[in-house]
C-alpha cells in the first residue's frame, strides 16, 4: 500500500492587511495609532487591521509518487498553500503532515549573490536548499553540465546573461532529488529547449516515485504532467480529482481571465475595462460548438462583448497559441480591413478562419482588442482551447503544414 506523502487537514491562513493609511512602518506610528484608537473605542486597536483569509479550509491527501497540479486564479491561495507546505510560513490553524524531504522551487536563484562565482553560488544555494556539502560535491559536475555553463563556472554570476543565471539556478534545484517536489510556475523561465529539459527532469523524478506538487496557470503543462488536479477557489478546495474534468471546470469558470502579460497594462479586474469580452465560443464552419478540429478545418469564433460608454476605433483580434507557447496565427479586423463602428452596450462579432493547417496539438485562442490608431490595449483575455487532429503531423513538423508541389527535373 502506498503511504501518504502529504496530508493536509483543515489548513487555514489568515493575513493581516494594513490599509495604506494605517501602515505602521515605524514604532512611533504604531504607538500613536494605537493610542488614538484606544482613546476612541476600547477595542479599536484590534479592529485596526483588516484580516483576510488566504486559505479557509483546505484538506487533501496526496499519495507517494503522485503528481498533482494546483490550479486556481490569482489570489485563490495556491502560493500560500505551497508556502505552508514548504514551511516558509505557518498556518493559522489546521495541520499538515509531510513524509519525506521537501524540495521547493518557489523561486529559482534564491540566495544567489551577484559577486560570487557560479561555483561559489552553487555551494551556497545548495546549502540553502538543504543539500549537504558532500552531496553537492558528488553532484557538482552533473549540475554544471545540466546548466550548460562549464566555461563560466568561475565567473561572478553578475556577468551572466539572464538565461545562464536561470539555468544555473534551476540546475541546483533540479538536482535536489527530493521525495516531494513543490514547483511554482518555475517552468515558465528560460528558453523552450531548457523548459523541455525541466519537464523531462520532472518526469524523471515522477518515474523515481517522487511526489510532485505543481502550481501553474498553464493548463497545458498541468495536463501533460498531472493526472490529478486540485482546483482552489477563494481559499477552499473547489475540485479535487482527474485533471481533465478539473481543468474543464476551471476553464469554464475562468475562461475569460485577463492574460497574465496584460495584467500590468489593463489590470486584472475585468469589470473596470471600457470593453470586455463576455464570451468566446469556438465552432465549426456550420456554427456547431466544437473543440476538436481536423487538420485543415475552418473555425468560426464568436466574441460577445460589453462596452461601458462608447468605444471608438476598436480592433478585434484573435491569436492562436500552441501549448508550448508558440504563437501560430493571428487575425484582426484592422488587418482584414473589416470596418468596426463605434461600440456601446453589448454585441457580438464573428470571424471565420481560413482552413487551419496546424499540426496536431493543443491550442488556445486568446482575444486581444486594441485601439486601432493608438494601438493601446483595451482588453486581452484567455479564450477556450481546442485540439487539432492529424495522424502524422506533430510539432516535429513545425507549426503548420500545407501540401507543396513537386516535379521531376529535366
Amino acid at each position: 500500500m502506498r503511504m501518504n506523502a502529504i496530508e493536509a487537514r483543515h489548513l487555514a491562513k489568515q493575513f493581516k492587511i494594513m490599509a495604506a493609511a494605517r501602515r505602521h512602518d515605524t514604532l512611533r506610528d504604531q504607538l500613536a495609532d494605537s493610542l488614538k484608537s484606544w482613546l476612541r473605542r476600547p477595542d479599536a486597536s484590534r479592529a485596526g487591521h483588516e484580516t483576510f483569509w488566504a486559505l479557509k479550509d483546505i484538506s487533501f491527501e496526496i499519495k507517494e509518487g503522485e503528481t498533482v497540479g494546483i490550479i486556481g486564479r490569482n489570489g485563490a491561495g495556491k502560493s500560500t498553500l505551497l508556502k505552508i507546505l514548504s514551511r516558509i510560513t505557518e498556518p493559522t490553524s489546521g495541520q499538515a503532515t509531510i513524509r519525506g524531504r521537501v524540495g521547493s522551487l518557489l523561486e529559482v536563484g534564491t540566495g544567489f549573490h551577484p559577486e560570487l562565482s557560479g561555483r561559489e553560488n552553487l555551494y551556497l544555494s545548495g546549502a540553502i536548499l538543504g543539500m549537504s556539502r558532500a552531496e553537492m560535491e558528488r553532484k557538482f559536475d552533473a549540475i554544471v553540465a545540466f546548466a550548460e555553463i562549464e566555461q563560466f563556472i568561475d565567473t561572478p554570476v553578475k556577468h551572466y546573461s539572464s538565461g545562464m543565471y536561470v539555468r544555473l539556478a534551476f540546475a541546483v534545484a533540479a538536482h535536489l532529488d527530493p521525495d516531494i517536489l513543490l514547483i511554482d510556475e518555475v517552468l515558465s523561465v528560460g528558453d523552450l529547449a531548457f523548459q523541455t529539459k525541466c519537464i523531462e527532469h520532472t518526469k524523471r523524478l515522477q518515474a523515481s516515485n517522487s511526489t510532485v506538487l505543481f502550481v501553474s496557470h498553464n493548463m497545458f503543462s498541468i495536463k501533460s504532467m498531472c493526472r490529478r488536479v486540485i482546483y482552489l477557489s477563494g481559499g477552499l478546495v473547489r475540485y479535487d480529482g482527474p485533471s481533465e474534468d478539473g481543468i474543464a471546470l476551471y476553464e469554464e469558470e475562468n475562461r475569460l481571465e485577463t492574460l497574465p502579460w496584460a495584467v500590468n497594462q489593463v489590470g486584472a479586474d475585468l469589470d473596470q475595462l471600457a470593453l470586455r469580452i463576455t464570451a468566446t465560443e469556438i465552432m465549426d464552419e456550420q456554427g456547431r460548438p466544437c473543440h476538436v478540429f481536423d487538420h485543415g478545418q475552418r473555425m468560426r469564433i464568436r466574441l460577445s462583448f460589453e462596452a461601458r460608454g462608447e468605444v471608438k476605433d476598436a480592433n478585434f483580434g484573435v491569436s492562436v497559441f500552441r501549448s508550448d507557447n508558440v504563437a501560430c496565427c493571428h487575425f484582426n479586423t484592422a488587418m482584414d480591413q473589416f470596418p468596426v463602428p463605434d461600440l456601446s452596450g453589448t454585441g457580438s462579432i464573428e470571424v471565420l478562419t481560413p482552413p487551419l493547417k496546424l499540426v496536431a496539438e493543443l491550442y488556445v485562442v486568446n482575444v486581444i482588442v486594441r485601439n486601432t490608431t493608438r494601438g493601446d490595449l483595451l482588453t486581452a483575455q484567455v479564450g477556450p482551447s481546442f485540439h487539432v487532429r492529424h495522424e502524422q503531423l506533430n510539432t516535429h513538423f513545425g507549426v503548420f503544414h500545407e501540401a507543396a508541389e513537386w516535379s521531376w527535373g529535366d
Binding site: 508556502k83 510560513t89 505557518e90 498556518p91 503532515t97 509531510i98 519525506g100 561559489e120 551556497l124 516515485n209
Partner: protein, 287 residues
Amino acid sequence: MSTPVTLAAPTAESSKPIVLIGPRRGLLDLDLWAVWQYRELLYFLAWRETKVRYKQTMLGVAWAIFQPLLTVMIFAAIFGSFAKIPSDGLPYPVFAFAALLPWIYFSEATVRSSTSLVSDANLLRKVYFPRLIIPLAAVIAPIVDFALAFVVLFGMMRWYRVAPTWNVLFLPLFLVLALATALAVGLWLSALNVKYRDVRHTVPFVMQVWMYASPIVYPVSLVPEQWRLLFALNPMTGVIEGFRWGLLGKQSPDFALIGASAVVVVGLLFGGLVFFRRMERIFADVV
C-alpha cells in the same frame, strides 16, 4: 503497485523524515536541534558574508586591518596625547588596541545581526531553514576580521615590547562572551527590525553610546568608585578587561562581576531566543 527500481527499499521508506506543520504552541519550543542539522548552511552563510564583504575593493581584506589601525591612531592622538588619559602604565596605543579589537568585533556583530533578517528578506520569503541561522551567521562572520586584526595587535605588542601572559589562553572565553552578547542583542533587534525599521536607525547610535560606556579609550580606574558595580554589569567591560588582562598582563578583572554580567547575557540570550521564535512565525509574511 509495481516496485520502483531506483530507491524505496523498505528501510529507506521508514527512514523518510516526517514533518508536522501546524501553528506553533508553547513558548519554549526553541528547536535548537534544527539549527544543528543546518550547520553547513550556517558555515556557508558566514563564509558568504566574509567573501562578499571585500569584493570589488582595491585593498580587499586589508580593510580589516586598516580600519582598527586608523581608529587606534586617532584615539592615541586625541585621548592619549592631547587629553592625556591614563592607560594604567601601558603604552596608550597598545592599551587602546587591545580593547578596540573585541569592541569592533562586538559592534560589527551586533549591527550586522540586527539588520540580518531584513537584508536576507529574499531568503525568508522563499526557502525554509531555521531562521536562527541568519543572525547567528552574522555574529560569526566578523570573527575573521577580528582574527586578522589580532595579528596586527601582536605586531604592535612586539614593537612596544609588551609580552603576553599565559592568561592569553582565556581569550576565547571572552570572545565567546562578546559573541553571546552580540547574539542576544541581535536576536531581539533583528526580530524587531522585521516589523519596525526604526531599529536600523537606532542601532548605530546605541553602539556609539555603548562604546563610551565601555572602558576602551579610558581605564576602569578612571570610573568613580560608586559606579563601578553598575559599570561592571556591562558585559563588554568584562570582555575588554579580560583582553587587557590576558594580553597585557594587567591586573585580573573581577570574575564575580564578569560572572554576574554573563548571567545577564544568558538571560538576555534566552529571552531573545524565545522572542525570536515567537516573531519567526510572521517573518515571511511581513518582511
